[in-house]
Subunit: 239 residues, 2 copies
């Protein structure tokens, strides 16, 4: 097995799903935590393809793009790539979740740009006082929650079409999209980007709970993350 | 081989890549053209998972989400799923292209919403005169082109990292992401959503040209589409 190095910030964000996939596949990797306080000054020195994290260094190549890395980890863990139609059913739900989250994020940044101007090309506030940071975090939180609660109903629509066993999204074994539901659950409990998961998409919520509670490795991962007190994003006090 | 039915509008949009993948894999499918003029009244009757096209009906299930369908078609055509690391390298570039296009689209809709108000929940203009349609199309066109020209440089950055043979993105044979470059080229030539592909990302452009010109099936597909005079999107006069 080739040596792998995952570089990411010290929150769940876009690295959490990759770490859970590696755990499920018993795949060793070096977990490199990048400090956010020195990120802006140091990022040039990391040799990143697009100035973005996470990256996975494997076989001498630095892979970027979260979805590319997640798919790689899922394939290595045996949770993707066995059957094209199974993967396609899972991708329907995965793409729907990704779409909703991306549209909300991009839309919110635009919506809040006038009220909370940032330094050009960054997410840093021009008015960088703690009070203004808290105000933006609160505005993001409320808007995100409202939009997720509205748009998450799509997840249940898709899941109803593909599910045949209440313990998994597709078929009778764990696949990549099940792990996405675990991360969706973890995000839903975060104070800054949480939403009413159970109310907004009850079938997806119940399935996530079954996935977590019936797989000891996943349960252990969720419990450990929640006990760590780490946030899901860098929003709020961290910026 | 199971029977497949692809339902989409009569423009390139999100269906073109799927059709090219099926052609390359010699995969038979029924090409069902959905009329855009009656779309709003009839869409309930199509039994679509998310009121969106394209969908692929296969083995009694209606698959939605363009990327899910594209990946399914690419896997069936032998252009994905052979090597996890090859797929990951391709996905880096594919996700970067998707990201840029999605961010521009979502951002533009928000940016132009105040100037061109639409009927709630639709893309139809409240002021539905041809003059106003043309004005919105022009505003979309100019903004889209400007943003694509700026952001496409990321494609060359990624391609430089992964390419070893100028005729393909990865390795020495055709893969899924090569087909994405073909579609990117076709879009770049469209009057409404075109951009200066050669200037904005010269390496990606040259690679796209090599992919098209050295594969007779791809060349035939591109020539046929361009000769058809069909647009790449429903923007402009169609709405």
């Amino acid at each position: 097995m080739s040596k792998k190095q995952l570089k990411y910030f010290d929150w769940y964000g876009r690295g959490g799903t990759i770490k859970l996939l590696f755990k499920l596949g018993n795949i060793d990797f070096e977990d490199v935590i990048v400090g956010f306080d020195t990120w802006n000054e140091k990022k040039e020195s990391y040799g990143l393809p697009l100035d973005q994290l996470p990256v996975l260094v494997v076989d001498g190549i630095t892979l970027c793009q979260t979805t590319a890395i997640e798919r790689f980890a899922a394939t290595k863990a045996g949770l993707l790539g066995k059957c094209a139609l199974t993967d396609a059913k899972g991708d329907m739900l995965f793409e729907t979740i990704s779409d909703v989250r991306k549209k909300i994020s991009v839309g919110l940044v635009g919506k809040l740009a006038a009220e909370f101007p940032t330094e050009p090309g960054t997410f840093y506030l021009k008015d960088n006082t703690q009070e203004n940071k808290d105000r933006r975090a609160a505005a993001m939180r409320e808007n995100y929650k409202k939009m997720m609660n509205e748009k998450c109903q799509a997840f249940d629509k898709i899941l109803k079409m593909i599910q045949t066993n209440k313990d998994f999204c597709i078929g009778n074994e764990l696949t990549f999209v099940d792990i996405q539901l675990v991360s969706l659950y973890i995000f839903s409990k975060d104070v800054n980007v949480g939403h009413d998961f159970e109310k907004a998409s009850p079938l997806t919520f119940k399935t996530a709970m079954n996935i977590i509670n019936k797989n000891p490795k996943i349960k252990e991962f969720v419990d450990e993350f929640q006990a760590s007190g780490k946030p899901c994003t860098g929003l709020g006090k961290l910026y």
